[in-house]
């Protein structure tokens, strides 16, 4: 698989490259959003590992500038465990988020999940998404709120259950769990700007 690593820390890029080298081909690196877009356009990777905190607008600006057609799958990486950093990345189109302290096997799993076009929800991301949807919004319509089953799946993910175990516990198939998670992701990306800003304001993220 062909990867591009976007991170403003040279040492981190070198570390990831060394870790992934036996399994995947790292075809490009970038330290800023503009570099990232150039490298992605040139190398056309399958998956981009994208840092949340970048100079000149952050990872979100890269996601927003990616072409609609044939865009690579994006896995967000961050040291941050703050919802205000993570949720906007998912909303902007990243398929998953993992912390930089993740070990190599888990990172490889996450890359494989994202490459297949599936959402990769770490327990923490699942918790943040659960929280994002629990904010009351008066004009929330059915398309934008979670079904009880989706909520249940997210809750299990937040508690660290793997898809297979969730499927067993809820008596559904693995594929159905994946579908639920995919729907959650789609709904998160669909939620109106108003709702997210309402949510952010409630948490004191904007004034």
């Amino acid at each position: 698989m062909r990867l591009v690593v976007v991170d403003d820390h040279h040492l981190f890029r070198a570390g990831v490259r060394a870790e992934l080298a036996p399994h995947h081909e790292v075809v490009g690196e970038a330290a800023t959003p503009s570099e990232a877009l150039a490298v992605i356009a040139e190398t056309k990777p399958d998956v981009v590992l994208l840092d949340v905190h970048l100079p000149e607008g952050g990872g979100v600006s890269v996601l927003e500038a990616l072409p609609r057609e044939n865009a690579p799958k994006v896995l967000a990486l961050s040291v941050s465990d703050a919802a205000e950093d993570v949720v906007p990345m998912i909303r902007a189109g990243a398929l998953g988020y993992v912390t930089k302290t993740i070990d190599t096997t888990e990172l490889l799993d996450a890359i494989a999940t994202v490459a297949a076009g599936d959402a990769c929800f770490s327990p923490r991301l699942a918790a943040f998404v659960l929280q994002a949807f629990s904010a009351p919004a008066p004009e929330k319509n059915e398309l934008e709120s979670l079904t009880p089953r989706e909520r249940e799946v997210l809750h299990h993910l937040a508690r660290g259950y793997a898809y297979k175990r969730i499927a067993q516990r809820l008596g559904i198939s693995d594929r159905t769990v994946e579908t639920h998670v995919g729907n959650v992701l789609r709904k998160l990306q669909l939620t109106s700007r108003h709702e997210v800003s309402h949510w952010a304001a409630k948490r004191g993220l904007v004034d």
Binding site: P123, R124, A127, Q131, R159, G160
Partner: protein, 397 residues
Amino acid sequence: MNAASDPAGRITALAGALLIAALAVALGDSGATLPLALLGAGSVLALFVLVPRAYAHSRRHPALLVGVLVAALPLFPILLFGGVGDGRVVWMLPNAVRALLPLVVIALAALGGLILIADDLRARFGLAQRGLTPWQRLTGTTDVPMPTPWRALGGLALVGLAFILGLGYVGAGSSGLMSLALLLVLGGGTAAIIAVPLLIAGLARSDRARLTTAREDERRRVAAHLHDSVLQTLALVQRQAHDPAAVQRLARRQEHELRAWMAGEVELGAETLGAALRKAVAEVEDDHDATVELTILGERALDREVEALAAAAREALRNAAVHAGSPIYVFAQVSPDGAEVFIRDEGPGFELSAVPTERRGVRDSIIGRMRSVGGSAVLDSVPGEGTEVALRIGVTG
């Protein structure tokens, strides 16, 4: 803060008004007891409210001193010419005091007025920093209602009355000194014209200075913390580079500490559920060399119930670390009505009924503890697949 809910402003205005009233009565009909009473009350208020406020204000806004000088302007002719308008000689001390006293009172009243004006201006400068136009600052907007500027109007009235009284007193009984009165008016006007922009500049400058100081304090605080924690750990990591396990432990502990510090828990004195859980996780990671993934949604201060919840969670976490090992997942969800904590491992699992009664760890320290505060503890263990302990208090979704 508006004038109605501002006792200091009202007392300032009252002191000024009493002083003016006393003088007005005294100048009209000397020797009465009413002005003495008013003067007494006004002086007490002036001494305990006006003077300290004036001192504080002039320290914060040096431009106010110019205002004080304007208020004291009527004193100058006496000092310069040795007498008031009607030709009385006041170099003799008793006479001088008697002649000066009303002027001091007038100056105090005017000072009260200036303080009120300064208060009002400061409130409006607060609005200026929120991007309102000068006109909006006068009238207020729908979002930021600005009440009628009672303080400024009261202050202006006090200054005006004091000025008129001062002129009247200095020029009393002498029409030949109209030129002196004119001089005073011109001088006072000029001083006021100089004083007001200075006052405004002083207000803006001192606000900026306060902001800069606050930023600098914050930077020092962050630098001091990083020095004590992160740099210290980095030094230790360099020294122990040959021992990967030690380096890992150091890095993990530092990560926990830094995250707790960023979450503001150190300043809060660790009196929250989140802080208690972070502490428990850090302890277990250190003692049992386990990896715990902790996620906390919401926050709540420690009370009896939450303390029991945190203690039960710590016990469940220790059990997981001892009997199952890494990875361990802890998920806490807190709402205003309740809280739940899930501790999950992927160890061998067990049957609760198969645990001998003499090993009371689970029964007492987890289930018993939760029941004693009206909460619940549910153990869900599948042999070969792992164990999850769900702890709840209050109403949870």
